[in-house]
């Protein structure tokens, strides 16, 4: 048996192993992998996600067991230090030697650190491994104690901006320093970069262009940067993201050919200058280029394996490599594809620019207007998948190519569905895994796959960058529609219905409990998906609080409080529209003090008390209720807050008493359970201090009454609410709101917020308007009556609990003892917080 050795257990090295394990002739070979890092291969592309939860498991591409199961020897934490290509021997830093028949270099790259004096000071980092991120997080945690701490990222490229977003999210004021006169100089033109800059500045990043750093200052720890133009920038932390350098040191030492500026030279089969030695991934220099993206790296792994295995028809690298990228995570869309910066005279460019909206789109078409050569999208990359497919497959362009970027005029929703049917079978849909439309459709047609999840499971598509998932779901929907099947989003394995069907059936058959519903409509014992979903339906059909069927509620609703990271709970009393009397403030303060709760003003204009033990919740609420408070439902998928601005009560611009109206609305819909949480806002004038357009429903006072906006949200995918009606008077506004909300309660899927609900609604806002205002379905009166029923049925569920000893028993931490939980807290600015994970 021959031995293959892979050096490097990064993304591309792992891909090689994965392909190897599935190769029909794998039995002829033994495979050993050396990795310098401690962990088995992980997903570097989504590295920044680690900042959110420090959960390295989520990034893992495979476990040790995965390797063991496939009989691949994995030796992590072992660096290969010497290589003798003539004798086919390698040696590691532990002194171990091994011979090989084939060798694959997958050593990746390291961040390039320019030779600036002071780069060894503490507080200076790079951004490549989990360990780098741990170091940054630990350092930043210490800095946060320091008021006004600042971070700087050197390098305004793809990675640098991602890093900058991360430090900003860590709560550090962040500067970006770029040597070139614009951001992302390799992917963007001036217009695109300028638009991106404006948006990023809006997010709070400070951008400094054309700056060359001459020194990193500070005594031990970094305190500032010096620039060539004599200026200085104060900073307490620096992340250097100034490009990558291929790790070619091993190859170089052992006489394998490397390029003049680094990188291990590869031919079209990814062979190096040494016999039976291959190179793949970011270490490879192919056609005088290093490719810092996974998709080309995966292609190299495929080609190298195919050559090494002597496949009948060995693959080879394409002449030109697709460098299209869509940036993630930075708070705005940025994408470029194909030839984004063509030489003058070789292409015709069409540019669309909306300065106020921060949108810049450019496409480059061939001089004859027939082919799409490439393009840039900033601020709105909704068209990326479609354009990228047109470019990759060289599809014919419409007679007016500008329609490609202006095309979605009117309809609002993307028409990616129409695009997908035009793609040829050979079109590569998942470029990370190189999977074509033909392959995907094959699985659907053979009935081996029925859903996106199935497609991912049988082909591996979507497991790389994940960018193709929207197309996968379009493919599935289209396939089902083409077969005359209605596309239904079933709840889970226990209920073969959509949420709307289930709701209708429950109403029709007058089912009152989860067990009844399971008996009549479902099967098995249920799960964590259908239990809370049905709880929500019972709440909106029978105005049932979370108490009678506590065991089917999501954890937070079961205990009427939000669980925190140490298993304690938070307490949020309702403060309608944020208006509160001094006495009530004092009452909250007294409770917080008595129970030792960490106290904070929330982003929703109320006060959150954190750190209550389960057994403390009833006594805390007992006191709050005695002081006149009610549950704030901060734990439920239900109405949270109606944010207000002070309005004409005090403000010199106010058009109406927005606080009074906000209170009226919050009181009306308080506790209303819904498919997802609901938030509202009322602003006294178009200056919009209540951010009403960032809410599920928002009212803005104008000269003649109110404008009513719906279906906005903040969160991970922010969306501005759109105008439903206006100007209208307060009474009409409430009626429309009743109808709108009830329609949403009835028809949205579980955990679908209003914005997403509207996005997938056929006919969009026009249809919604026709239902709410013109009553095309003839259900307006019914919706209003139902809503009034829910409003009348409102009870404070915390009051229910404290008045009922049996319900109070739910909050006993242990069945068999009166012990309370033992918890560890650490002090924090005169209060306390849980011990960090």
């Amino acid at each position: 048996m021959q031995r293959i050795v892979v050096i490097g257990n990064g993304m591309v090295g792992h891909k090689f192993c994965d392909l190897f394990a599935r190769h029909p002739r794998r039995g002829d070979f033994r495979l050993t992998v050396f990795g310098e890092e401690r962990r088995p291969a992980y997903d570097r592309v989504h590295l920044s996600a680690y900042f959110a939860d420090r959960d390295a498991d989520k990034l893992a591409l495979a476990t040790r067991a995965w390797y063991a199961d496939r009989d691949i020897e994995l030796r992590t934490g072992e660096l290969v230090t010497e290589l003798d290509p003539e004798r086919r021997i390698l040696r590691t830093h532990l002194g171990h030697e091994m011979t090989y028949d084939y060798l694959v270099l997958a050593t990746g790259s390291v961040p390039f650190v320019p030779p600036v004096p002071g780069k060894d000071k503490s507080g200076v980092f790079v951004y490549r491994t989990i360990e780098d991120l741990d170091a940054i997080l630990d350092y930043a945690a210490r800095l946060r104690q320091l008021p006004g701490a600042r971070a700087t990222v050197m390098g305004g490229g793809l990675l640098g901006l991602e890093a900058a977003r991360a430090t900003l999210d860590m709560g550090l004021a962040t500067d970006v320093v770029e040597f070139a006169p614009r951001l992302m100089p390799r992917q963007l033109d001036e217009g695109g970069a300028a638009s991106l800059r404006t948006t990023l500045e809006g997010l709070g990043l400070k951008i400094h262009l054309s700056r060359s750093t001459t020194a990193i200052g500070g005594n031990g720890c970094i305190t500032h940067l010096d620039f060539a133009d004599g200026t200085q920038l104060e900073t307490d932390l620096l992340i250097i993201s100034a490009g990558i350098r291929p790790r070619d040191e091993l190859a170089r030492k052992s006489g394998i050919a490397v390029g003049p500026r680094g990188g291990i030279v590869a031919d079209r089969h990814m062979r190096t200058s040494a016999p039976d030695v291959f190179v793949i991934g970011e270490a490879a220099l192919y056609r005088d280029m290093i490719y810092g993206l996974v998709a080309p790296g995966y292609e190299m792994a495929r080609v190298a394996l195919s050559t090494l295995m002597r496949d009948a028809d060995p693959a080879c690298m394409p002449e030109s490599i697709d460098l299209s990228t869509k940036l993630k995570l930075i708070g705005t869309d940025v994408a470029s594809f194909g030839d984004c910066l063509p030489q003058p005279g070789t292409a015709r460019s069409i540019v669309y620019r909306d300065e106020a909206g921060g949108v810049y789109k450019r496409i480059n078409v061939s001089p004859d207007g027939r082919r799409l050569l490439g393009g840039i999208l900033v601020g709105d990359a909704a068209d990326y998948n479609r354009l990228h497919q047109i470019y990759r497959n060289q599809l014919a362009l419409p007679p007016q190519p500008q329609d490609l970027i202006l095309g979605s005029r009117g309809s609002g929703g993307g028409d990616a569905g129409a695009g997908i049917s035009e793609l040829p079978e050979a079109a590569v849909i998942c470029s990370c895994e190189n999977i074509t439309k033909g392959q995907l459709c094959g699985h659907l047609e053979a009935e081996q796959a029925h859903s996106v999840k199935d497609l991912i499971a049988c082909t591996g598509a979507g497991t790389g960058c994940g960018g193709c998932k929207p197309i996968l779901s379009d493919l599935v929907e289209q396939h089902l529609k083409a077969r005359g099947k209605v596309v239904r989003h079933l709840l889970c394995e226990h209920f073969p219905h959509t949420r709307q069907e289930l709701r209708d059936l429950i109403v029709l058959r007058q089912l009152r409990t989860y067990d009844e519903a399971l008996d009549e409509l479902g099967r098995g014992h249920g799960c964590e998906v259908c239990r809370p979903a049905l709880a929500g339906i019972f709440a909106t059909v029978y105005a049932e609080t979370a108490n009678p069927q506590a065991v089917i509620q999501d954890t937070n609703d079961r205990f009427l409080a939000n669980i925190q990271r140490n298993g304690t709970y938070s307490v949020v009393p309702r403060v309608p529209a944020g208006e509160i009397t001094p006495d009530k403030l004092i009452a909250i303060g007294a409770v917080a003090k008595k129970f030792g709760l960490y106290t904070k003003i929330t982003g929703g204009q109320r006060i959150d008390l954190f750190g209550a033990r389960l057994d403390q919740l009833p006594p805390i609420w007992e006191e709050l209720i005695a002081a006149g408070f009610e549950s704030g439902h901060a734990y439920g998928k239900s109405l949270r807050t109606v944010k207000s601005c002070v309005g004409s009560t005090w403000c010199r611009y106010g058009m109406d008493e927005s606080v009074s109206f906000a209170i009226e609305i919050e009181e009306r819909y308080k506790g209303l359970r819904s498919p997802h949480k609901l938030k509202g806002g009322v602003s006294g004038c178009i200056r919009e201090c209540a951010e009403a357009r960032g809410k599920d429903f928002g009212l803005i006072a104008v000269e003649e009454g109110y404008n009513l906006y719906v279906c906005g949200n903040g969160g991970a995918r922010p969306k501005h609410a759109v105008l439903l009606a206006g100007p209208i008077d307060r009474r009409t506004a409430v009626r429309y709101l009743d109808r709108f909300l009830m329609f949403y309660l009835r028809t949205a899927g579980p955990l679908v917020r209003t914005a997403k609900w509207l996005e997938t609604m056929e006919g969009g806002i026009d249809y919604l308007r026709s239902v709410v205002m013109d009553d095309v379905l003839g259900i307006a009166a019914e919706l209003e009556t139902e809503m009034q029923g829910l409003v009348n049925g409102y009870r404070c569920e915390w009051k229910e609990v404290i008045e009922d000893p049996e319900m109070r028993a739910r909050f006993r931490p242990f069945v068999n003892t009166d012990d309370t939980e033992e918890l560890e807290f650490v002090p924090l600015r005169d209060q306390q917080m849980p011990k960090p994970w």
């Binding site: 939860d53 959960d55 498991d57 989520k58 893992a60 476990t63 394995e493 226990h494 989860y514 067990d515 399971l518 098995g524 014992h525 249920g526 799960c527 964590e528 998906v529 259908c530 239990r531 809370p532 506590a550 065991v551 089917i552 999501d554 954890t555 937070n556 079961r558 205990f559 669980i563 990271r565 140490n566 298993g567 389960l614 739910r810 931490p813 242990f814 069945v815 068999n816 003892t817 012990d819 939980e821 994970w837």
Partner: protein
């Protein structure tokens, strides 16, 4: 974590009385203390089956599993952690939706109206 080890019915040396059946909610979990250890006990009332596992979630080492939602996946009874929704088989303790280490599971015996959990120490 090392304090918790799966116990098979044949390994049980001590049957510890955890409480009265009516102290445990139907279709959910509750927590009992056994010395310094916390054990989550679940009652699946639809088929009258009882399960027990460590209360400590292996993901972030918080004592919370007894407060998770229970359910079933392809016939396997499971609990979903309330913090990040990792799910664990109540038969084997295995993590069903990720690669967390397994939780320890314990045999449960109901005699009359008393609920017992099996330990080997």
């Amino acid at each position: 974590m090392t304090a918790y080890q799966t116990i098979l019915p044949e390994q049980v040396t001590t049957w510890f009385r955890a409480g009265h059946t009516h102290q445990f909610p139907a279709g959910a979990g509750a927590t009992v203390k056994y010395g310094n250890r916390q054990i989550a006990v679940f009652y699946f009332h639809r088929n009258r089956r009882w399960y027990a596992c460590q209360n400590l979630c292996p993901h972030k080492l918080e004592n919370v599993l007894g407060r998770g939602l229970i359910g079933e996946q392809d016939g396997i009874p499971k609990v979903a952690c309330p913090l990040h929704k990792r799910t664990f088989s109540l038969e084997t303790g295995e993590n069903l939706n990720g690669d967390c280490p397994p939780v320890a599971v314990y045999p449960v015996r109901v005699e009359g109206e008393d609920v017992y959990i099996g330990f080997a120490d």
